[in-house]
Amino acid sequence: MTFNLNLTINGTAQQIALDDPRVTLLDVLRERVGLTGTKKGCDRGQCGACTVLIDGQRMNACLALALSYDGAEITTIEGLAKGETLHPVQAAFVAHDGFQCGYCTPGQIMSAVGLIAEGEAGLDPERVREGMSGNLCRCAAYAGITEAVLEATREMSAQEGTSA
């Protein structure tokens, strides 16, 4: 049996024919759509490398059964930059050395985008760290990651003309 999966990925509606119901959203993105920016670390919800936005909410794509999210809007790391202009969170990760090897980085950045949209951590470094605890970094770039998230929060609220 073939399943027709409809997803809007980074703004583009796509129909994906799945021959097997077992495929996770992570494997759809990486193996079927060719968007390999989203990483597979543990494949069990424990590391956050696979974080994407599903209908605006950050989630672990590795524990999302693709068929269950039929019709959803997905944003991946590839969907953040506008042409050559980096998203403020991406720019802040570069500016603050929010990575070393970079493997966890797409997940960190997507998680940070989700965190900032949730609007609960604000500029409290403790709340930022807690809110980012679902993303592990084996290179332990945590100090830079926290700085980057704080900076991006400031930048994005300045752009919106509101205070964080």
Binding site: R22, T24, G45, N60, L63, L65, L115, R129, G131, G134
Partner: protein, 341 residues
Amino acid sequence: MNRFEYERAGTLAEAIGAEGAFLAGGTNLLDLMKIGVQAPARLVDISRLPLTEIEPVEGGLRIGAMVRNSTLARDPQVLAKYPALAEALLSGASAQLRNAASTGGNVMQATRCSYYQDPLSPCNRRNPGSGCGALGGETRNHAVLGWTEGCIATHPSDMCVALAAYDAVVEISGPEGARSVAMAEFHPLPDAQGAGDAPLAAGEIITHIRLPDPGAMARHARYVKLRERTSFAFAIVSAAAALAVEDGRITQARLALGGVAARPWRCRTAEAALLGQPATIETFTRAAELALEGASPSGANEAKIRLARKIAIRALERAAAGTPERLPALPASLFAGDDNG
């Protein structure tokens, strides 16, 4: 992972009695299917069922089984009246997982016993009659209350501990009709042979959780969780406490422990002993003694008994001090910095 059939339930009636495993957020079920611990022939996707309301009802609140953990933790009614529930939820898993995890799935999540998770180990819960691989093994997350040689596993949920303290009721629908069970009695304790009866009969689904009004305990409720790292880790032991104090005397008390048994452990003897007493450390220490009465190590985990007493005392102290206006940056943490250590 085994191959399975996939079907989406459009209505509750379609889900009830459907043969197969319910898929809600999938954060536990898919994980267990990937490691070969569960292998359902059919998945019944209940994630689109209209069980997503958090509604005030006569005498309390009613939570749909598909309300996500993050939504529940943010709900203004929950934050105002059931802050220990919000704190418990926020102390569990990660933000990403809480966005996917559902209320019903959280209740039904499997034990984190590592022998249960290893298909090569004997396990009475996974494979009845095969024995218990955890006996004599690594028992840091195993029980000190209500266990048998048949199974020494604990229920890992933080949310359920707070729900048990709040006298929550699980509403169930099934082919035989509807029934309700107290959260504190919902998860079966093991019998001599193994994990005991399943909490739900075939085809039964959790539809809602009902919470009675906490009255004067609303702003005196906390959750405290001891874990190996301050965030994104399961409880070693945890406690939910709620109190009402009038003129320095305790008039209502609730206490439930997590990480100690196959169900959230409601401490009714301790609660009774708190009534009429002054809200002091001496009172809380006596209550914590009673809460762990009858506890015994199921392996090299005797320290959990002492730790559980201390966590119970800390939860009662924090409840007596009153719930802060805004939950601390590190929910349920001992390092939250919102008391004297």
